[in-house]
């Protein structure tokens, strides 16, 4: 039997953590969107979800490469994506949650979960990239200047679908509202502030998460009005994916995402 690849362990300094939070959120969100490949409710949406996943993987690749450079031990993007263990992934928990299985007719899960999460995350990413385009780290500024154009298009597209489902049939509105109830508690983590954020803000590397809250609420609320959705009340729960403590779903994503490189270390095609 072939040898399996050993895990790598990164030295997680605050700047490395800062970049990994973004890289891993983009990567895991892409993995979830990619699960719709071949299962989209209509062909156009199948193509849309996988195209957005492709943009996100591209952003994740650039960010992982940069995180590896900041970390300094000579790892590359593939090693970071495929050979880290769960506790070293620092994505927002929201990105890793599975879409709820609504019926036997929805093998990819409830499309409303995917639409809503994509809108919440694309709006957040767009605000991050907009501010990071002026980063003191020129590589991050370059990545952000490119990614903001992609995130803007994702936000438009997802926002159109939020309105379409929310202002659609009684069934689509009910399912979208239920998806919002499920996702909402996990949005708190998008606006927390810890020493990683504070240091990035002080070094002008990029924005602290708490500085995004007001703009995000405003943009999300504007689309929710059109969709007939109301912003749920604030909840005290704060998820901890950005600290490396994940939901029970994370291990399954990594098992699938990493299986090939774990079984065939360094495999290429």
């Amino acid at each position: 039997m072939a040898a399996t690849a050993d895990s790598i362990r990164l030295n997680l300094t605050p700047p490395v953590r800062y970049v990994l939070r973004l890289a891993d959120t983009a990567l895991i969100h892409a993995q979830r969107l990619g699960e719709w490949c071949g299962h989209g409710p209509v062909l156009e949406e199948d193509i849309a979800l996988t195209n957005m996943a492709l943009d996100l993987v591209g952003q994740a690749r650039a960010l992982l490469t940069h995180a590896a450079r900041l970390e300094g031990e000579g790892f590359d993007e593939d090693q970071l994506a495929f050979l880290r263990d769960e506790a070293q992934f620092l994505n927002l928990t929201l990105a890793e949650l599975p879409a709820r299985r609504s019926s036997a007719h929805a093998p990819g899960g409830d499309f409303a979960d995917t639409v809503l999460r994509n809108f919440l995350l694309a709006t957040w990413f767009k605000l991050v990239w907009t501010r990071m385009a002026a980063s003191s780290d020129t590589e991050l500024a370059g990545i952000a200047g490119k990614a903001v154009k992609e995130a803007r298009y994702h936000q438009q597209h997802a926002g159109d679908w939020v309105v379409r489902l929310g202002d659609g049939t009684a069934e689509s509105a009910r399912r979208l509202a239920a998806a919002l109830e499920r996702a909402w508690p996990y949005t708190n983590e998008m606006f927390q502030r810890d020493e990683v954020d504070a240091q990035a803000e002080a070094n002008r590397m990029g924005p602290a998460r708490d500085s995004l809250a007001a703009d995000w609420q405003r943009e999300v609320a504007a689309v929710f009005v059109e969709a007939g959705l109301t912003l749920p009340a604030a909840t005290p729960f704060v998820s901890t994916g950005t600290l490396g403590r994940h939901s029970e779903h994370m291990g399954f994503i990594l098992a699938e995402m990493q299986s090939l490189q774990r079984a065939h270390p360094g495999g290429r095609w």
Binding site: N51, L54, D55, A62, Y153
Partner: protein, 172 residues
């Protein structure tokens, strides 16, 4: 640098640009890489004796990025301009405003509606493209069928006048 080297270098760079004008984009072969605006700079690589080409990717996840670098290298080396050094530069980010006028004409002839000029202003959050002119019959009576298409850079539309579907190069 001596007096004779300079014209020789200029001639080499001019040849390199001419070669790049013949290298097709792998996903939209009607366009050359030069038309697409992804070639940001060509300079003499004094250390290597050949040329250095600076490319910028179109989309972060565009799978053609590696193919483009390889075809640039191969085309220039075939013309004896090697060794070729290819580097990537992210900033300033590629914009469809960099597609040349010749490129826009070629896109239209190929059946792809070219992107509108963006200028320097920011875009609204909810942008529904309307009235994209059909590249076949020229009618502005068209509608978008799909926000995403066969490649990262295009969306799918249809003409309500001549009933033909067509692709639109998304302005970014």
């Amino acid at each position: 640098m001596n007096a004779t080297a300079l014209p020789a270098r200029d001639a080499m760079l001019e040849r390199a640009w001419a070669v790049l004008d013949t290298v097709p984009d792998p996903e939209v072969p009607a366009l050359s890489l030069r038309d697409l605006g992804v070639v940001r700079e060509v300079q003499a690589d004094t250390a290597g004796g050949g040329v250095e080409v600076v490319l910028t990717p179109t989309y972060s996840g565009c799978p053609a990025t590696e193919v483009i670098a390889e075809s640039v290298r191969a085309a220039l080396e075939d013309e004896g301009l090697g060794p070729v050094k290819v580097t990537h530069r992210l900033a300033p980010a590629w914009t469809t405003d960099w597609i040349s006028e010749a490129g826009r004409r070629k896109l239209r002839e190929y059946g792809i509606a070219p992107p509108a000029h963006l200028g320097s202003g920011t875009q609204p959050i909810r942008l529904r493209p309307r009235g994209i002119a059909c590249p076949r019959c020229g009618s502005a009576d068209t509608e978008r069928l799909s926000a995403f298409g066969s490649t990262a850079c295009k969306a799918l539309h249809r003409c309500l006048a001549c009933r033909e579907p067509f692709e639109h190069f998304k302005p970014i």
